[in-house]
């Protein structure tokens, strides 16, 4: 099962309501995935030259101020810090690799969820409604968000096994389905230097995109080649810095519905996830075609379908 949603706002006036609309969408798909939930929200961009890093500790109440103070000694000034339940967001002027290494060596107990100018990934085990409440998603603002409710089939129910999986700065992926060639592909990607944290098949899809993008492919090209290299069932929604993309496998085993108005583009595993959106009765509603790459972004604010 699993449920996935994506919401991209074309109308900036709706941005303060992004979290409210998005939380309703994700909560609706609890029935498709009651194990755990996660999301990537694209809010205010970090100032030029700075990055947002989201880290997670297994328990609430962790001393994040101490982490920020120690980080300040290394980078030369105090990072911005906001604690959100088990997660904390740092805003820092530093290189991603440097940050990741510092966290890995100084605080191996922490998991780095995301690094980017705009994107923040948060995820936890538990009923989606509880996860949404814990993070206060309904009050969040931003331009777009993607999310996932999980019913685990291929690997354990853990926070690390929850979606989204980050695939690079401001890039992440949620997956409904199961891949059948993930073990072989994981070994090949490990030989290419990619690092895996779980046995999860969706993490392999995320790493595959990271690898293709690292080699200079566009997102559209990376998704098109995924059609050849990934074997199994999938509907993917991929969050990008300025939009999102949708791809379904050629057999289209897993559901997907899209809705578009002048104000937004939305994607959900089922139409009922979209029914809380404004003017949904007048939206254009359709099913994305199998084996077809769809992308939306703030530059075009329009659909570009690339036939694979």
């Amino acid at each position: 099962m699993c449920g996935i949603v994506g919401l991209f706002l074309k109308n900036p006036a709706l941005q303060p309501s992004l979290g409210g609309y998005f939380a309703t969408m994700l909560d609706c798909l609890s029935s498709r995935g009651p194990d755990s939930a996660g999301f990537a929200i694209y809010g205010a961009e970090a100032p030029s030259g700075m990055l947002k890093l989201v880290a997670q500790h297994p328990q609430e109440g962790f001393d994040w101020v101490k982490v920020a103070a120690e980080l300040a000694l290394v980078i030369g000034f105090a990072p911005g810090l906001q604690v959100i339940a088990t997660h904390a967001r740092f805003t820092v002027a530093a290189e991603e690799a440097e940050l990741r290494e510092w966290f890995a060596t100084q605080y191996p107990v922490l998991t780095v969820m995301s690094v980017g100018r705009s994107m923040e990934i948060m995820k936890e085990v538990g009923a989606p409604a509880a996860v949404l409440k814990r993070f206060g998603v309904a009050a969040m603002s931003g331009t777009h968000a993607i999310g996932h409710t999980r019913m685990a089939t291929e690997s354990a129910v853990t926070t690390a096994g929850s979606h989204p999986f980050s695939t690079g700065q401001d890039l992440c992926l949620v997956h409904n389905g199961s891949l059948s060639n993930h073990n072989r592909l994981r070994r090949e990607l490990q030989r290419q230097g990619l690092v895996f944290h779980t046995e999860n098949d969706s993490e392999v899809a995320a790493a595959y995109l990271s690898w293709r993008l690292r080699d200079g492919a566009s997102l559209e090209a990376a998704l098109t080649s995924a059609l050849d290299d990934l074997d199994g069932f999938y509907t993917f929604t991929i969050g990008t810095r300025d939009g999102f993309a949708v791809l379904r496998d050629p057999i289209a085993c897993k559901p997907a519905v899209m809705a578009e108005t002048d104000d937004y583009v939305a994607m959900g595993s089922e139409y009922r996830a979209l029914t809380g959106l404004p003017d949904i009765e007048r939206a254009r509603v359709w099913e994305p075609e199998p084996a077809t790459v769809y992308t939306w972004n703030t530059r075009s604010a329009a659909r570009e379908a690339v036939l694979a």
């Binding site: 289209a252 559901p255 089922e270 009922r272 979209l274 029914t275 009765e281 509603v285 099913e287 199998p290």
Partner: protein, 227 residues
């Protein structure tokens, strides 16, 4: 007219009320407001009642229908009219995957498009799609008629038994053991009747007919390599 608003009434309550109607006296039509993608709306009806659904329906709408007439004034989710036995289901928008799956009888009309696996394993239903159908439509179709006024996706009629398929537009490709067949007078008469019943304006002469080559399901030792 009975009016049920699904914003305030659970689907189960609606279906229970519809199941309690008497076959000899099913009464006035029902109008269902705020479908909002709910699953299993108007499933398992067994009386000649009319149900008008406003908005997009979720999965399995009008599944197992007998005798009833169900209109969906919007799109329908996966498996609309699945295993229908008789009656009419009319989707005024588009339908998702597996529309009319395994249906034994009745008429399913889809004004828009139907996506993949339309009429999968159909067993006698008549399906008229005014738009196009997705891949693997009429997969393992056993009996009945699938009429497509638009185009058909890949592997049309794969492993088909004895159903008839009529397509006006392009066929991406035919599935295993599905072949084009000549349009005979009796086929044109049947098609005209189906188009009339569905309110489709297409001309029967513009369609092509497809059906089973009967090489797969009737085992013949010379064809062992095809299995």
């Amino acid at each position: 007219m009975n009016v049920i608003d699904l914003a305030t009434t659970p689907v189960r309550e609606l279906n229970t009320a519809l199941h309690q109607l008497e076959p000899e006296n099913p009464g006035v039509p029902w109008r269902v407001r705020n479908a909002r993608g709910a699953h299993s709306i108007a499933c398992g009806l067994r009386v000649p009642v009319t149900v008008e659904i406003e908005g997009h329906a979720g999965y399995y709408c009008a599944g197992m229908n007998q005798l009833a007439t169900v209109h969906v004034h919007g799109n329908a989710g996966v498996g609309v009219a699945e295993n229908m036995m008789s009656g009419t289901v009319h989707v005024h928008g588009s339908a998702s995957q597996s529309a009319g799956a395994t249906a034994h009888g009745g008429l399913l009309v889809i004004d828009g498009d139907a996506s993949a696996r339309c009429g999968i394993s159909m067993k006698g239903v008549d399906i008229v799609v005014k738009g196009s159908v997705g891949h693997m439509s009429a997969f393992m179709a056993q009996a009945g008629n699938l009429v497509v006024c638009g185009d058909a996706g890949e592997a049309l009629g794969d492993s088909i038994y004895e159903a008839r398929i009529f397509v006006r537009g392009k066929v991406a490709d035919l599935g295993s053991d599905c072949v084009e067949k000549p349009m005979r007078e009796e086929d044109l008469r049947l098609l005209k009747c189906l188009l009339n019943r569905a309110g489709a304006e297409a001309q029967p002469e513009d369609f092509r007919r497809y059906g089973s080559a009967r090489q797969l399901y009737r085992f013949h030792v010379d064809h062992a390599a095809a299995y």
